[in-house]
Amino acid sequence: MTTGQVNILDGNTFVVCDKTGDIEATPQDTSGLFSFDTRFLSHWVLTVDGERLNPLSVDDLQYFESRFFLVPGTASIYVNATLSVIRRRAVGTGFHEELTILNHDDKPADLTVRVDADADFADLFEVKDNVGKKGKYYHRVASDHLLIGYERDTYRRETLVSASAPARFDEHGLTMTVHIEPHGEWMTDLDVVTALVGWGERFTRPKYGHAGGEDRPMAQSLRQWLDEAPTLETDREGLKSTYRRSLVDLAALRFSPPIAGGASLPAAGLPWFMALFGRDAIFTSLQALPFTPELAATTLLALGAWQGRYVDDFREEEPGRILHEMRYGETAAFEEQPHSPYYGTADATALYIVLLDEYERWTGDTQLVKACEPQARAALRWLDEYGDRQGNGYVSYKRANEENGLENQCWKDSWDSINYRDGRLPDFPRATCELQGYAYDAKFRGARLARYVWHDDEYAHTLARQAEDLKHRFNNDFWVADGKYFGVALDGDGSVVDSLTSNVGHLLWSGIVEREKAESVVAHLMGRELFSGWGIRTLAEGQARYNPIGYHNGAVWPFDNSIIAWGLRRYGYKTEAARIASAMLDAAEYFNGRLPEAFAGYDRSYTQYPVEYPTACSPQAWSTGAPLLLLRTMLGLNTSGQFLVTDPAVPPEIGYLALLDIRGRWGRIDAFGRGRPFEEDPRRSWGRPRS
């Protein structure tokens, strides 16, 4: 995001405005009030006696609420201003703005207060790509409101603007005539309410009521969210604020799709991805599992409800496939984009099983796992049938929607992310290596669920055998012998795509790497080519397409690093996992506790601070989840039957580290660790039940 912009958000509704609170969108920027992937306000400008206001300061009170302190006039004269203007804005179903003007003078003030308002109802995809509108706009003026609407066939979206103080409405906004006594104040509430006509309720007030009240449901919900999460104790002050920032951002990114019945799951990120993404929701739920297991439950239910059933090339739907992306904007509504929902992902289906098992291990909620049994079986079947596009026993992808489907259907989804060491791009189908790791893990975990929850030993046996077979074949077929690592993919001919990438770290997480191969994989991950000092690069230095600011070809992704750290722990590389945790948490402090989507892959000795990737989304759900997962890896939290096991390996610079009240099938347990020099192997200890 451009600096100087203020973002407030609540699930898939968000406002992007300038430091005065004004919105003046141009066709291609993301200023505005957005909801359901549609811009419901593109213009919202406050003037007093015809003059724009100047910002003194902005308080981000909560993720859903900001307060703007303003004075009239231009910068050269505002020091003598006798008026203060305060806008306090909270986002909900639209937004609520409390506008207050204070008169500091000995004389009364008579003012004309004007708010210009308009809406272009742009689809987020149109904002991204600058596409013209196909429907008609309408404005309806009433004595107590202005209605701005957009209509294309039966598709209608409307914005209703109203005020509590007497106001004259016209097609372009509202005007209020204000008289304020000496040292007096004046106030009005402005409400902007959005409506998807024909979909749910119309024109309810924003859900906060008055922005100033103390008993707002949003504030309560945030308090409850923070109270339910474990308490962090540490010597490292910065880590405390990173932890709090992560929990608050995760709360902000909670999104309750119309299908979830009020329960929440994580949207992917601001501003482009305030929507349900299969992969992002699953990874974020995994990262946050020890902190907020409810996200995982909703994610599993929502993704299960939308699981593919038929073959549909436009949406790339296939029986058993878990969705990639769901959108509600105009282009989705008219099937100009396939997001209703779009299924073009090769990893979410296996990851769905991984989350299902990890959720059960952590919470003991066998009821949900039983409820999801048909979906889980269909997902496992997809891996063998539709996922295996070459008939070679590996999951691969090749888009069926040639017009607007995704070329790369793995997490590195930019067009050139999968490449050979010499820079060439492979043919399709592409079987990227981490997909095989996820499939192995899904089968392995599916076998456990079949045995212990679904009570189907034969199925368990089949899955376990398939997993072992896949592991064996994979370790031969993907191995790059001259480099001693796993290549990023198999190409259309089944030959290895030989570049060295961070994907090998995901293989450790999945457990598909044979023990004797782990040592050299770890050496590569922690070596100069991949490890920048700030984190592990997506593509190793020395590969032809390496570029420190290449989105998936050199940049460092916090989410990626958190999964790799988890993988290092799985294979017993505690010191290496702690080095990554330490580097990431250092970086987080440079971003005020909020890790961006990605930062540049420059060597740490070269840049003293991590350089944010130019167009990175922030906050982004799986970056927000990264510090949470890193806390888990540092404390070595894992489940063992009914118990929580801890095996801390805390970097020395973090010192004392404790998480209190970790919820799970054991009730609530505390975990402790202390940073110590790494030569000494930290003693294995069990989580202690609370007294």
Partner: protein
């Protein structure tokens, strides 16, 4: 009025006969109000079994649609989510039930048909063109 094929009637008849294992965990009622002369269709989804009647009693969700659109929906030609986003299909009450209902619908007509080969792997051969020119699959 000439009646050719009553797709809607056939759809509901067949629904009542087919067990729905995917809905094994759900109990819900829903009603479909069409702008024709008939009474609303009333569905009771009871843990994988569905009973259908013509009744205007209340339900957990009410779906309103014109008959022409609903014909397209039950034959898989129209998508419920995009129809709802366009305001042609309206849902009142628990919107989750629209997703549940979607589970009961047939897939799009111009779809690939896939039959696993004896080795368990899917075979792909060219067939008729799908809407985006993707390859059809059949064995």
């Amino acid at each position: 009025m000439t009646v050719t094929t009553d797709h809607i009637g056939d759809f509901f008849d067949q629904l009542a006969e087919t067990p729905q294992p995917l809905l094994h965990d759900i109990y819900a009622t829903m009603r479909i109000d069409l702008d024709d002369d008939g009474k609303p269709w009333h569905l009771t989804l009871d843990h994988g079994r569905i009973s259908v009647s013509r009744s205007d009693t209340s339900a957990g969700a009410i779906v309103r649609s014109d008959r022409a659109l609903f014909e397209q929906i039950v034959t898989g030609e129209a998508n419920t989510l995009t129809a709802a986003l366009r305001g042609r299909l309206r849902i009142e009450g628990d919107a989750r039930l629209l997703v549940v209902f979607t589970r009961l619908l047939p897939g799009p007509p111009r779809r690939r048909t896939t039959v696993p080969s004896p080795t368990g792997h899917t075979e792909t051969t060219p067939g008729t063109k799908s809407r985006n020119g993707g390859k059809e699959r059949r064995s």
